[in-house]
């Protein structure tokens, strides 16, 4: 890995596992001998609001926050939240988007707001490298709807220069014991997703 700092942004809705995902990515980076900083705001995270986590990985990392327009990898567990984070992206950055959608009450109860018809399509208009994942479907196949985050981590793991076994060891140490096996399956499903779309 060069001196370049890799900027990873993880977005989603409270309760989707943004914090655990950013924890896993950061821990993998540390186990691989890199400097890492990870920043997010807790407090409101369990109340259905937007949750954003910044993970910065490199030889030496100063600011815990990514500069706007400098995100290399975006991981979105909810597609509209992926679109909301679009201005943080580098134009040649890679976006890994779950096609999940969660429409909040403030939209359903009011005519003032609308939810985008196809957020993934909107993201593709702005970015060349987009991997849209039917993560809800894969999670349902695996038998647990809460695996969207690990599936996307699997996709991201193909983009970062860390060894597969470190991802596996980290998941083993950070996920609740009884959920380790199913999370490893989810990681593997994510790792199988082809990256042709983003190989420029």
């Amino acid at each position: 890995m060069t001196d370049k700092v890799h900027n990873v942004m993880i977005v989603g809705v409270g309760g989707q596992g943004v914090l655990l995902a950013s924890e896993i990515i950061s821990d993998v980076a540390m186990r691989s001998g890199m400097d890492v900083k990870k920043s997010e705001v807790h407090g409101m995270s369990q109340r259905g609001g937007v949750v954003t986590s910044h993970v910065r990985i490199g030889k030496k990392v100063y600011s815990p926050l990514i500069q706007e327009g400098e995100t290399d990898f975006l991981m979105a567990f909810e597609q509209a939240e992926g679109l909301r984070a679009i201005n943080w992206m580098r134009k040649d950055g890679i976006a890994i988007i779950s096609r999940s959608s969660m429409v909040p009450a403030i939209v359903t109860s009011s005519k003032d707001f609308t939810y985008p018809d196809d957020a993934v399509a909107e993201i593709k208009k702005k970015l060349a490298k987009v991997i849209a994942v039917d993560a809800d479907k894969i999670a349902a196949e695996l038998g647990n709807p809460r695996l969207v985050n690990t599936i996307l981590i699997g996709v991201l793991s193909n983009c970062l220069p860390f060894e597969a076994n470190i991802w596996i060891e980290t998941i083993k140490s950070l996920v609740k014991p009884k959920l380790v096996d199913i999370n490893l399956k989810a990681l593997e499903r994510g790792r199988q997703i082809k990256l042709e779309a983003v190989k420029a």
Binding site: K38, R47, Y62, G69, R84, A105
Partner: protein
């Protein structure tokens, strides 16, 4: 050994390494995880939640005077509550070391204001450290105890959200040896009657002179020289942002922030063509340097509102003509619907707010999850100032309007114990016609479900007395006190209607546990019978995250409702307000 720790976890680790005897706090974002981590991982340190920050601070003072190192943690506004003991403890000084953590929240991610508590340290006349990552958070805690004992002063460790909640790599240390101390009677030092306090104020004054000398010498304030004609003075996370965008400038990194090392900075500035102060919120360093006649600028370029980030710092340096390029986002931000935090599916507060909205009364609110009742579409809360303010404010409204029977104060259980009790005592004493709703969900929910005097457990997990809210309310002299189930919409409505007509202060306590903590509550979910749903949208307006728009519409194109069964907790509130009885228990629906 290295670990990836948040600033808060690093402070908790530091408590062990520093030989802290007593750690005490009231939960408050972004400080809460310090004590939680101590209770979870470092049980050699005694840790407790106190009912509020003032009591916590006083317990800490007692521990220090008793001879044990004391750590007291709170969010920035918590220090307002603890300001009274702080201001005079600065006079007496300590016995064993005393460090208070002030976790400030620039940008107000989870707070009602963004006050800069570095000013509080100066106001009280106590030194503070300002860590820039987790390693420094731990190491400065240890240094803080040394300074506290060496200079006989309380010390502040001033953190911010981006330090407390950022994980960085920490090299762990071994516990240090702390000398044994005992409580020593010394009224001239510890009894602050005017005659003694006058002497102690002089001591404080001299102490600040001594601390100023320390500040000039300590390596916590350091110069990083790159041979640049441009100098940056910064501490805390602002230092990291500046290093990020301008790594080649010279830096005066401030770690010990008050008193400032004025003379060293004077030399640093003299040796550079231009020097900027990069600091979040108030121009705390900048003003002191300018008063000392030192030629610096800062706020002119970086502003004093919200938190800094690399983007803002880069823009400021660009505006000052110090860097040539600012990375502008290549992609415009999208204008999208907002997604504010909401009351959880099944939240027992929802029933109270549905009833309050229906009655159209003015609602003075307080600090907690229920503050979210102000958001659309509930729109059921009219004020929020600080912990406990709901009751006093309702009394004030009533004294102006003659009768506040149209006014209801809403306060949570933990907030009531924190600072609602005295407000209610005032309502009784001054015969105020207010109605107070105490929404008891058995937890300090907003900060993550911490224990409090009404839960029956301590932070360390030992069984404790469970203070009964109704008994306490009646003991204060409230004659009309009743409890109601907030999941019973009609009963809640009726209780508020009746109590607002009763003369004198009245209290309605709603009892239902938080659906998240201590254990997740999931009863049988409800479903929408789309045959019966007429798309009236009444259930949308209770703002439940489990209720969404169905693709099916009525004849006018309005969406019918659908319930997400994985989120529904079975609280039944939506079913009670559905005019067509289309919302039914899942098992009953299938049977039909």
């Amino acid at each position: 050994m290295k670990e990836l720790l948040s600033g808060n976890e690093a402070v908790a680790r530091g408590a062990v390494e520093a030989g802290v005897k007593v750690a005490v706090a009231y939960p408050g974002t972004p400080s809460t995880e310090i004590l939680e981590t101590i209770a979870e991982r470092h049980r050699s340190v005694y840790a407790q939640w106190s009912p509020n920050e003032k009591v916590a601070f006083e317990v800490g003072i007692g521990a220090s005077l008793g001879g044990g190192r004391a750590l007291v943690t709170m969010k920035h506004v918590g220090l307002n509550v603890a300001a009274d003991p702080l201001m005079t403890f600065a006079y007496t000084g300590v016995n064993a070391g005393f460090v208070v953590i002030s976790a400030d929240d620039p940008e107000m991610h989870s707070s009602q204001n963004e006050q800069d508590n570095r000013i509080f340290a100066r106001f009280a006349g106590i030194p503070f450290f300002e860590p820039a990552d987790s390693q420094e958070s731990k190491d400065m805690l240890l240094a803080g105890f040394e300074v506290s004992e060496r200079f006989d002063t309380p010390v502040m460790l001033r953190m911010t959200t981006r330090i407390s909640h950022t994980k960085t790599i920490v090299e762990l240390g071994e516990p240090v040896k702390v000398s044994e101390r005992k409580f020593v009677k010394d009224p001239s030092k510890y009894v602050m009657v005017p005659a003694n306090a006058k002497v102690r104020h002089q001591v404080l004054s001299q102490r600040l002179v001594d601390l100023q000398k320390f500040s000039e010498e300590t390596e916590w304030n350091r110069i990083e020289s790159n041979g640049s004609p441009v100098g940056i003075i910064a501490g805390g996370v602002a230092y990291q942002h500046a290093k990020e965008v301008a790594p080649d400038f010279d830096y005066f990194k401030i770690g010990f922030g008050y008193p400032l090392p004025i003379e060293r900075i004077r030399k640093f500035v003299a040796a550079h063509n231009i020097v900027l102060v990069v600091e979040e919120l108030e121009p705390f360093y900048e003003e002191q340097l300018k008063i000392a006649g030192i030629r610096v600028e800062g706020k002119k370029y970086f502003g004093n509102l919200g938190e800094l980030n690399p983007t803002r710092v880069a823009q400021g340096l660009y505006d000052a003509g110090l860097i040539k390029n600012v990375v502008h986002p290549g992609i415009e931000a999208e204008k999208l619907f907002p997604r504010p935090p909401v009351l959880c599916p099944g939240c027992p507060h929802r029933g109270a707010f549905m009833a309050l909205r229906k009655l159209g009364v003015a609602v003075t609110g307080d600090i907690g999850c229920y503050t979210l009742g102000m958001l659309k579409p509930l729109n059921a809360l009219d004020t929020c100032i600080c912990m406990g303010a709901s009751i006093g404010m309702a009394i004030g409204i009533e004294k102006v309007n003659g009768s506040a029977k149209g006014t209801v104060a809403v306060i949570g259980d933990s907030t009531f114990f924190h600072s609602g009790i005295t407000g209610l005592l005032d309502a009784v004493y001054n015969q105020s016609n207010v109605t107070v709703m105490i929404l008891d969900n058995g937890a300090t929910a907003m900060t993550g479900g911490q224990e409090h005097p009404g839960t029956g457990h301590t932070l360390m997990g030992t069984p404790a007395n469970r203070t009964d809210i109704e008994t306490l309310v009646k003991a204060l002299g409230v004659k009309n006190c009743r409890s109601v189930d907030p999941y019973d919409y009609e009963a809640t409505l009726k209780a508020i209607e009746e109590e607002t007509k009763n003369p004198g202060p009245s209290v309605i306590v709603t009892h239902r546990p938080c659906v998240l903590m201590p254990k997740r509550i999931m009863d049988e979910p409800f479903v929408v019978d789309l045959e019966l749903c007429n798309a009236c949208s009444a259930c949308f307006r209770i703002s439940c995250p489990a209720i969404a728009a169905s693709p099916q519409t009525n004849e006018r194109g309005h969406p019918k409702a659908v319930i997400d069964e994985t989120m529904c907790t079975g609280c039944m509130l939506c079913a009670q307000i559905c005019p067509t009885e289309a919302i039914v228990l899942k098992s009953k629906f299938v049977a039909a």
